[in-house]
């Protein structure tokens, strides 16, 4: 009995002399939502394409739903995917575009209208794809990915172009699918959204894995931050010095000092600042979030 939806070992892709993906290893358990994050050009889409059999890996192995990625015909009928945004025929309607894919995959064509309604395109299904807004195109892409009633759903930036309501709907949809047993592997730049819905995280940087595992484990690895603001901006550097003298990493960011320290150290910092004649306007411990963690681990900010 296979209990991983995706399993990747030593997977690499080389273009000329550049390694787009470098010897990555990770697993995604069945029935989870797994966020796939990394800066632009970190190799997320290349990895997804290798998993879908669209490009051939240079080295390594991968398994999808227990089947090797060298044989995509064994698993793709159970996989839904939207890679690098929606791609459809502009002169066909949304309904016709889905019919093309339904016929091709041998899926029941009655599912097309149901899915259009599920993604909020029931009324516009007969309109040509070229008349759709970016958000509508994105919704059609999600509907296409759901055609096979997938066991594994792979989505690349599914919330691009969606309004806040649309983003919430997609979030709820993905959670529902996961609750129904579908494994969701989703990349997004909206890290706050991923943090809410993901059970697992795979983080890439320059083609290499920075972290892969349960999101709780990732957060537990991160030190909490104390954010301090002084009345006078000129005192910020002095607060940094106090923190560093006490052995804590500290930086000035957005007119406040971010000190990597347990929240128990906050009263100590308050006292030290008072003794140094600094009046603090704010002193708040902050638990790490995915966005902060991402920037710290990928070194993007």
């Amino acid at each position: 009995m296979v209990n991983t939806a995706i399993s990747v070992s030593d997977l690499s892709k080389k273009y000329d002399d550049r390694l787009a993906v470098s010897h990555i290893n990770f697993e995604v358990p069945l029935g989870t939502v797994c966020g796939f994050v990394g800066p632009n050009g970190s190799g997320k889409t290349t990895t997804m394409r290798m998993l879908l059999g669209l490009i051939t890996p240079t080295t390594g192995q991968g398994h999808i739903l227990g089947e090797p990625i060298e044989h995509p015909e064994r698993y793709l009928s159970r996989v839904g995917a939207m890679i690098e945004g929606p791609a459809f025929y502009p002169a066909l309607s949304g309904h016709e575009n889905l019919m093309v894919l339904a016929r091709l995959g041998g899926f029941p064509v009655e599912r097309v209208q149901t899915l259009l309604e599920k993604v909020g395109l029931g009324e516009r299904g007969k309109s040509k794809y070229k008349t759709y807004s970016l958000g509508m195109k994105q919704r059609l892409g999600i509907a296409a990915a759901l055609l096979p009633e997938p066991k594994l759903l792979m989505l690349d930036e599914p919330t691009n172009g969606l309004d806040p309501e649309g983003i919430q709907e997609v979030r709820a949809l993905l959670r529902d699918l996961a609750n129904g047993g579908t494994t969701v592997f989703v990349s997004s730049h909206l890290l706050s959204e991923l943090e809410i819905i993901s059970d697992h995280i795979v983080m890439l940087r320059k083609g290499e894995i920075v972290f892969a595992g349960p999101i709780g484990e990732l957060m537990a690895q991160q030190q909490p931050t104390i954010i301090a603001k002084s009345l006078k901006k000129s005192d910020l550097k002095r607060i940094v010095k106090i923190a560093k003298d006490a052995g804590h990493h500290a930086v000035i960011r957005d007119d406040s000092v971010h000190v990597l320290a347990d929240m128990k150290w906050a009263p100590v910092l308050n006292e030290a600042a008072f003794d140094a004649g600094i009046t603090l306007a704010q002193l708040a411990p902050q638990l790490p979030n995915l966005e902060e963690t991402f920037f710290e681990m990928t070194g993007d900010k």
């Binding site: 394409r49 879908l52 059999g53 669209l54 490009i55 051939t56 995509p72 015909e73 793709l76 996989v79 995917a81 890679i83 690098e84 945004g85 791609a87 459809f88 025929y89 502009p90 002169a91 066909l92 016709e96 019919m99 093309v100 894919l101 016929r103 091709l104 995959g105 041998g106 296409a144 055609l147």
Partner: protein
């Protein structure tokens, strides 16, 4: 395979493409056939490149399909454009990745696409034959061309033979279009290259060196449609044209199966 063909036919039957193409087929089939009779006494000739096709020739059993055979090369160019556009658009729209996720067998995609486009071409050729023979039958008596032999048993055989020859020619042109679409991955580039080659480069090359008409691919395929010419026999055109089409199809298939889909 059947699923691929059905999916592809859904794309091919969209009204703009289907009725636009069939409209062009009706117009040019009618024009080519009408000019054969309307210009029958013109000193500039009534057929391709100033050829004169006399009343006596048109009154033969093969006369009824003369216009249809003449339009065969033009149908080939239309097929080249449709096949090239339908193939290359998968790259420009990025839809190839959707197709391959739903049908991972690349050969099935390629063969299914080809079969569906051949079905489209058959519709095109049938309409062209009906329009061309119909207009010929209407105009022939107005310029004193006898149609008595056209629908005799020999005449019917000519209709069948020409129909098959035009199919071979048009499918050959279509496959070349498909190969160009796969190689160039852009409808505009594939159509421009194909049409420029067939309508300008080949004609110029033959004008400079007449013996090249034995070896240029477009000329061979047009010759197949007309059942052979004085200079190029039907069997020679079939062998050389077939070799070009087969070689191009093999190279393009290997590339399509092996190439990464990275767009």
């Amino acid at each position: 395979m059947f699923n691929v063909i059905r999916a592809e036919l859904r794309k091919l039957r969209r009204p703009t493409l289907f009725f636009g193409t069939m409209g062009a087929v009706v117009f040019f089939s009618g024009l080519f056939s009408a000019l054969l009779y309307l210009l029958i006494d013109s000193p500039q000739g009534n057929a391709d490149r100033g050829q004169v096709i006399s009343r006596e020739v048109l009154a033969l059993a093969s006369g009824g399909v003369q216009g249809f055979a003449n339009v065969g090369g033009f149908l080939g160019i239309i097929a080249l454009c449709v096949f090239a556009a339908q193939t290359a658009q998968e790259y420009t729209y990025g839809t190839l990745r959707n197709l391959l996720v739903r049908q991972p067998s690349r050969m099935k995609i390629l063969i299914g696409k080809l079969i569906s486009m051949i079905i489209f071409a058959l519709a095109m050729i049938t309409i062209s034959a009906i329009v061309s023979i119909g207009i010929s039958a209407i105009l022939a008596p107005t310029v004193d061309v006898s149609t008595d032999l056209w629908f005799s048993s020999a005449g019917i055989e000519y209709i069948y033979t020409t129909f098959v020859n035009v199919i071979i020619s048009v499918v050959g042109f279509g496959i070349i279009g498909m190969v160009l679409g796969l190689l160039l991955r852009s409808p505009i580039s594939a159509i421009s290259f194909g049409v420029l080659w067939l309508l300008i480069v080949e004609i110029l090359l033959i004008a400079v060196k007449n013996s090249l008409q034995l070896w240029l691919p477009g000329y061979q395929l047009s010759t197949i449609a007309s059942g052979g010419t004085v200079d190029v026999t039907y069997s020679h055109a079939l062998a050389v044209g077939g070799a070009y089409v087969a070689f191009g199809a093999i190279v393009a298939s290997i590339l399509f199966v092996r190439r990464d889909v990275a767009n």
